[in-house]
Amino acid sequence: MSSTTAGAPPAAAAARVETPFRRFVSEFAESRLALLGLVVFAIIALVAILAPWIAPQNPYDLAQLDIMDGRLEPGSVGGSGITHWLGTDDQGRDMLSGIIYGLRISLTVGAGSAILACLVGASLGMLAAYAGGRTDSLIMRLVDLQLSFPAILAALMILAFLGKGILNVVIALVVVEWAYYARTVRGTALVERRREYIEAAQCLALPTHRIIFRHLLPNCLPPLIVVGTMQIARAIALEATLSFLGLGVPITEPSLGLLIANGYEYMLSGKYWISFYPGIALLVTIVSINLVGDQLRDVLNPRLKK
């Protein structure tokens, strides 16, 4: 269980001995597919971060847009001399640039909400496991309630009450996702807290916060990392869905979902590229994260250890 990145002593890394971290890396690399996923995701993340420097056009700068370039086919050259490799949308916006900037928003919302949900969920899960009794059953009831209710619906309702906006989307995603983290952490923490090392720490009369943060939490990390990876993918997909339904991000900050929604009305007349390419970008992002998550689960799950 403790053979994780978190438990790796830095001193051992210098020598060519098998450290937990090294074992983890080599086990992860056993799956070519997962490695490919990691590389693809790294490229996507890099593209999103470097968007202003690599996108052919700034899709938010109205001065750069020419309505005459609207709905150009992929590969055609627009009035400003830019080749639109993936075509343009109805506003004359270069789709490639739109996708690169859209990735930025999708990834920010996805990762941001996943991290926030992780903080909230892990804290509550840890509290439930450590406090036990009433606190535990109250928190777990909430978790059960949350999980029995489909994410899309809960998010929909929250956004209906709060209105559009990136922050509101993040809030909605955190509300629908914290329960996964809470359940995971509680389950692991309940097992871990009965172990000898926790007992030893308690016998040493270490303060509770030190036991929780220095002893218990690091050993609960592996399942949390797995859930976290998967939840980032889920959050990105959910955000895209909500934005597609017109309840997510505002039009001024188009994420991939909104780009796809923009192309909906033009698809019936055969102008497929406005919806098609943002969808491909979304798909590749989600699949790459899921591939990494799948392999992480296999590597970090002690039950599957050979």
């Binding site: 899309i152 309702m157 209906a160 895209a240 339904l245 309840l247 796809i260 192309g263 698809m267 979304l282």
Partner: protein, 324 residues
């Protein structure tokens, strides 16, 4: 059994109550109830009268009780847009959503079970690896985008299937159904497949995992030792035993399917509850939103209850656990 049933019923009622409080607070505390319940065209005198009539001058807890009382009598307010009782509006659209969800569930079982069984029995074959890779894709594909692509390929380019709407319907038991006419069925194919994509992947994974686990059991070894045919072992000894978890999950997922049909219905302009709620949110028709949410909550709790009870009937250990 009676004690178990009673306890589950009380739990379910408590959850309904909690959710109604949440919805109440969501609508009444976050938004301005006057704006929500009284049409924007009303003048000052009308407003005051309506505020009194609706009891909005009462303290919040009393208002909640009134809301609860009305809800119990089936009165969840009137839609601003359609000027019809919100409940009736939703119930009218429910058959469309239900038949779509049932269609998707059936499709998931018909496609998912055989594929999962094969992948579980021959885990190392190329086809099985393909099936599993496909199931990852099924989890990853954004449903709405797949829906768009289905329309793109099968409706726009090939012209095989109609792109949107419900097609011809037949009235049975006072409700309109599409699946009884050829035209309606053609309209249903794409939305149902689209909605079932996620479930197909789920069924494949569950079935495969179940088969692989069951194949190692002693009773399967014993059946083999007895010299039973592999078909019989697969169909009777393995398949029957993995059906319990698969049916449970698919049953539990049914509620999720209904909820997720919000997306599919929007893509295919399928006139069900999901499309209604999205339209209502976009025009802020709040009574419909509240009514939809309450109905969905009730539906979910009923589904959970039914699955729990069925499960306890199938597996007595579940019941005993509560007593210990």
């Amino acid at each position: 059994m009676t004690v178990f049933l009673l306890r589950r019923l009380i739990q379910a009622a408590a959850v309904v109550l909690a959710m109604s409080l949440l919805v109440f607070l969501g609508v009444y505390a976050i938004g301005d109830p006057v704006e929500i319940l009284i049409s924007p065209e009303a003048d000052q005198i009308e407003r005051e009268r309506a505020i009194q009539a609706l009891g909005l001058d009462l303290p919040l807890w009393q208002q909640y009780l009134v809301f609860l009382g009305n809800a119990l009598r089936g009165d969840l307010g009137r839609s601003f847009v359609f000027n019809e009782p919100a409940l009736q509006l939703i119930l009218q659209r429910m058959p469309a959503t239900l038949e779509l969800a049932v269609g998707a569930t059936v499709a998931a079982l018909i496609i998912g079970l055989p594929l999962g069984l094969y992948a579980g029995l021959r885990p190392n074959s190329t086809l099985s690896k393909g099936i599993m890779a496909g199931s990852i894709l099924g989890f990853s594909l954004p449903t709405f985008w797949v829906g768009l692509m289905l329309i793109m390929v099968f409706a726009v380019q090939l012209g095989w299937l109609p792109s949107t709407g419900r097609g011809e319907t037949v009235e049975v038991l006072g409700m309109r159904w599409s699946f009884l006419t050829a035209n309606g069925l053609a309209h249903m194919v794409m939305p149902a497949i689209n909605l079932s994509l996620f479930k197909i992947s789920l069924v494949i994974r569950l079935t495969r995992a179940g088969v692989r686990e069951t194949m190692l059991m002693d009773y399967v070894k014993f059946a083999r030792a007895k010299g039973l045919s592999p078909t019989r072992i697969t169909m009777v000894h393995v398949f029957k035993n993995i059906l319990i978890p698969v049916v449970t999950v698919v049953g539990l997922e049914f509620g999720g399917t209904i909820a997720f049909s919000v997306v599919t219905e929007s893509v295919f302009a399928w006139p069900g509850m999901g499309k209604l709620i999205i339209d209502s949110i976009n025009v802020l028709d709040r009574p419909v939103m509240v009514a939809y949410l309450m109905i969905i909550v009730l539906m979910f709790i009923t589904i959970n209850l039914i699955v729990d009870i069925t499960y306890s009937l199938l597996d007595p250990r579940v019941r005993l656990e509560g007593k210990a």
